[in-house]
Amino acid sequence: MTDTAPPTEPAPQQTEMPFAYVQGEAVTTLPKDLYIPPDALEVFLEAFEGPLDLLLYLIKRQNLDILDIPIAEITRQYMEYIDLMKELRLELAAEYLVMAAMLAEIKSRMLLPRPVEAEDEEDPRAELIRRLQEYERFKQAAEDIDGIPRMERDTFPVNVEAPEKQVIAKPPEVSLQELLIAAKEAMTRAEMFSHHHVQMEPLSVRERMSLVLSRVGSGEFTSFTELFKTEEGRMGVVVALLAVLELIKESLIELVQSEPFAPIYIKAAGSAATIEEVPQAAGQS
């Protein structure tokens, strides 16, 4: 900033708008009084954030305190701006007219002689002053916020290249209840909850069916007795037996017995193995 420019900033400085230029020509002074080059007026007025802002400007220009507004004078000046705007057929924002009405009302009340007994009647300017002050606070706050050092303008993020990431594709995680919800939905859609299906089918049997199947999957004969393990106890034996029966029922395995009382073997249904291939060694167990 140049030395010749005092730190007084123009009130109606709207940053995006170079109100400096009117039809290509720079307007180098702000109006001292009410005279504004007609071409500049529109731009000038746009620089105000509304009637409160314009009023504040008028008050501050006369070095006056908000709390001591000479209503008559300010109203006169304000109305002159309004007239100017009208003359130029600028579209007058309704807010400006509302303010004009408010000023006129205050002025008229101030002009009326105040009865002595009505001393505690509120100063007619009070509401205007309150609004002006409230607006001024936030006008100031806006400037303060604009003055806070902010990223990208005053401070800058560091932007340092990170080392190349070693890609380890992590498989998705699934929770048990996600699985159960999916199960329920699939079953519901397939109406598998009908009574026919909802019987006490121990899932361990289904599990064992898979196990038995994969054991006989090689196509070779497996000894029936090998499917049962005494360590599993009675329940285990029952589950294994149910699994084998279920597999036979679904024609997934075949039982083979070469002669009565000979060892029983099972094989995957449709596998090429024939009875001649029954392993002799296995049969001796």
């Binding site: 900033m1 140049t2 109606p12 180098t28 002074t29 954030e49 303060d144 916020i145 005053d154 560091v158």
Partner: protein, 230 residues
């Protein structure tokens, strides 16, 4: 893991992240066997802060965590690095932002009441797109207008740790007290003087300010200039 090692990892993390990281986020990257105590992390951060004290970098704490950034006094050189001028915001937007920041939760209607003019939709949209402002609820009155509040990103962007860090609002003065002051001969001079110092645009004088020239200057070197203004 040694203190040095922790410090270097934390530095690398903050450098690579380029955005604030909370203590929890920092902790989370350490494996189970190596997780430092929170106090150790804090100590590492404090040490880094020390390390940067003399340099063009700084480690600061903002609303969402710790951030390493380039200091403000490096701005003249850093901004010459890029052609893009930082975005400047209109008074209308800044006043709206100020109202949201200080008066949240606040509706658009309430903002309009105080500013005395309508608030354009585009301003609210810009503030939300920048993620400085968000809808925090709806007022339970007819029409259920949205209430706005500021975000952590707003605080982060303005280098603030919390709303408490915002500059204090100007005091409201009571008409009665000022009347009393006036009678005592305490003039309305003090106030405009204050405005002058704070660079406020009150325009208390009638001089032929090269106001427009300043504006022109502003436009050309936005970043540096607006800094000196405040």
């Amino acid at each position: 893991m040694s203190e040095q090692r922790i410090k270097h990892i934390v530095e690398a993390l903050l450098m690579a992240a380029g955005k604030p990281l909370s203590l929890d986020q920092l902790l989370a990257v350490f494996g189970d066997g190596e997780k430092p105590e929170r106090d150790e992390l804090r100590a590492a951060l404090a040490e880094l802060q020390q390390d940067y004290a003399e340099r063009g970098l700084e480690l600061i704490e903002v609303a969402s965590g710790y951030r390493i950034q380039v200091r403000q006094d490096m701005e003249p050189w850093v901004s010459r690095l890029t052609e893009d001028k930082p975005a400047r915001y209109s008074r209308a937007l800044l006043e709206t932002l100020a109202l949201v920041a200080y008066r949240q939760p606040i509706t658009r209607g309430e903002i309009e009441d105080i500013r005395g003019v309508s608030v354009s939709t585009s301003i609210m949209k810009t503030l939300q797109e920048r993620e400085w402002v968000r809808i925090v609820g709806h007022r339970d009155v007819p029409g259920r207008p949205a209430m706005y509040g500021t975000t952590k990103q707003f605080l982060d962007y303005f280098n603030l740790k919390g709303l408490d860090d915002l500059p204090t609002l100007m005091e409201l003065r009571d008409i009665d007290t000022i009347n009393a002051e006036l009678e005592l001969g305490l003039p309305g001079e003090a106030m405009p003087g204050e405005h002058l110092e704070s660079g406020e645009g009150a325009e208390p004088d009638d001089t032929d300010e090269p106001r427009v020239v300043q504006v022109a200057v502003d436009t050309s070197e936005a970043g540096g200039n607006s800094e000196t203004l405040h």
